[in-house]
Symmetry: C2
Subunit: 392 residues, 2 copies
């Protein structure tokens, strides 16, 4: 029986993780949950699972949750805030931590889980983008397994079983290419938030959907892959594959390429991570007889400058990766609120990166400080360059 702590239990990955626990009651038991701010869902999860420990965002919500639990005669301990999330991540009884809090908010707890020697299922790519050096060094030192849960890196993890690390020539991340992979470049300046929020394959949150349209999302995955699999940016390639059927590929030195194919359902990488090193039966079946056509094209770096910026950040320093991620989040918010054009997103990021100094933060507070500086700088850039950045 694996005892699971879930950071971000009320989010989409958290709920999918609980649905996997539901399907395999003899194998996986959630014993600690870090919820967001959704009191109702947090309470329902406690009622269903009776975890030892639950954390919720604020003290006020924690009080409310305690009252609800008491009236339902559920003895779950309630904590709150970042300290609460860290307690969930380090609960001694848990041996597997799912890190699924979106953004840098999950950073401290994820790092704490690694330091505590937990096996970690990583669904939060910002953790590795912003603090990959720190987290990977700690994981290596403690012999902690980091199992990627996003579909591309999970696919790479599977394909890497086909050879030794030093037998890898390069890896290929597949990208859907987003809604604009065939849009004429001349129309990019006028792309609206409504257009950018339509993703062809996955239904996701707003930021990640826009990141998918700019391919910054794939840029973050490039950085994540470099850190997770210890590869230089030159060995992490991208191929545009609109059907998202092949989730990624590993090319070995002998010329063989292994690819992973599966349904586009996050429960599969979650199950893979939870069950690892075993594979256990599921009904998440990919219907090979329905497979008709797979298409591929080389990504156009002119159309998608965010990809180029990510390669540059990955090659530059950890501080540049933090800046790329922070500046993008600010720029996407500005785009969605009509303060910035679509092309203003890469322009803002490029401006922020151009004044970022190389650095390797030695602690999570340092990472968070660099993140804050980058965000402030991005706001400033958007404010000052308004006429240039907004053209529609």
């Amino acid at each position: 029986m694996k005892k699971i702590a879930i950071l971000g239990s009320t989010g989409s990955i958290g709920q999918s993780t609980l649905s996997i626990c539901e399907s395999y009651p003899d194998r996986f038991r959630p014993i600690a949950l870090a919820a967001g701010s959704n009191l109702e869902v947090a309470f329902e999860q406690c009622r269903r699972w009776h975890p030892q420990l639950v954390s919720i965002s604020t003290e006020r919500l924690a009080d409310q949750l305690r009252t609800l639990l008491k009236s339902a005669a559920i003895s779950t301990e309630v904590v709150h805030g970042t300290a609460g999330t860290v307690r969930v991540a380090t609960l001694p009884e848990a041996n597997f931590v799912v890190s699924a809090i979106v953004g840098v908010a999950g950073l401290e707890a994820t790092y704490a889980a690694v330091l505590a020697g937990k096996t970690v299922g990583l669904a939060n790519k910002e953790c590795i983008v912003a603090a990959g050096d720190l987290i990977l060094a700690a994981a290596r030192e403690r012999g902690v397994a980091l199992l990627p849960i996003d579909s591309e890196h999970n696919a790479i993890h599977q394909c890497l079983r086909g050879g030794a690390p030093n037998e890898v020539r390069q890896i290929w991340l597949t990208a859907s290419g987003g809604p604009f992979r065939n849009t004429p470049l001349s129309e990019f300046e006028h792309i609206t938030p409504a257009q950018a929020l339509k993703h062809p394959t996955w239904v996701m949150g707003q930021r990640i959907t826009v990141d998918s349209a700019t391919m910054l999302n794939k840029g973050l995955e490039i950085i994540e892959a470099c850190r997770l699999f210890n590869l230089p940016p030159s060995q992490v390639k991208v191929t545009v594959h609109p059907q998202s059927t092949i989730h990624s590929l590993v090319e070995y030195v002998d010329g063989s390429i292994l690819a992973q194919i599966s349904v586009t359902d996050m429960r599969l990488p979650i199950l893979y991570a939870l069950a690892w090193p075993e594979r256990i039966p599921s009904d998440l079946t990919f219907d090979m007889t329905a497979l008709k056509q797979l298409d591929f094209q080389t990504p156009d770096l002119e159309r998608f400058p965010c990809l180029r910026l990510a390669y540059e950040a990955a090659a530059a320093s950890q501080a540049h990766c933090i800046a790329l991620n922070g500046a993008d989040e600010v720029a996407v918010a500005a785009f969605l609120s009509g303060r910035l054009s679509f092309l203003g997103i890469p322009r803002t990021i490029e401006s922020v990166l151009s004044v970022t100094a190389s650095a390797s933060p030695a602690s999570i507070p340092e990472v968070l400080q660099l993140d804050q500086s980058a965000r402030a700088l991005a706001e400033q850039v958007i404010e000052q360059h308004h006429p240039y950045l907004i053209t529609h």
Copy 2:
């Protein structure tokens, strides 16, 4: 340094194996060669490699080869016939045997290599089709690794590294579908040898090209996969994939599928087998940036009755697999010489299978005897049913 014995050194796989040895002189040295009847090539190979031992088909050719070697002051020992091939396969100094003699002719030597504890690279699918039970039992008993060299099974071998044997749900062999995958069924009766000998992807020998057109070739691969990977026929599926880019796939119980992609060059599976368990760098690079489109379709068992017959033989007994292979070779020869129609090939095989008794031969002579009976029966069927089988 791996010391290699090559059964079938003058054939296409044999020559490709020597070209790999040429590229990696510090890793692979051919020390024993079993040639066919091509004296000139056999002599050239001895001149180039100075093997300890060479075998050639007949005593007369052996005498001629001895004379040539003597005049060139090369001290290679020359033997001949099946006994000679067995000596090559069991030479104590060799630790890797490439089995690449086409047809059942390679059977005895391949079995001898396994009994002698050699690691065997298998390019001869008839060995496993006709004597899979025997060879696999011997390999298991002696802990001998059998490394498949044909591209599909080699791909499966690679993809199987992604999980444990009991975690495999089923495997998918890809098939080009041959030249007639879109030909109207009404035209099948009138397919000529010239049409059947045009293969869209691979350039191969005549029998295997016709077998590819009838998909009997894929049928033999189904049987081979059942034996090599210890799977029932129901767990070995076929998908038609005209580009032959994905060489095969393994579907795991959790729903993940791993696929292998590479150039269509036999040197790659040969290198993989020779280097295993390592992978070593090669210039056999698949150009991912040139990858545009991959197509798939479900094979039509009405169009390709040979596939159905192979499934039936695999499920029936080893004797049925021997009969399928022997009857096909006779039927293909009759088709190529104009004595049999294209559809007469499956009809002949079906007739032979229908009168084959279930049996599990316990020795290679028994296998060869069953093979001879099946061939004789096929000749008889073709002779007797002439008007029905030939319609063009």
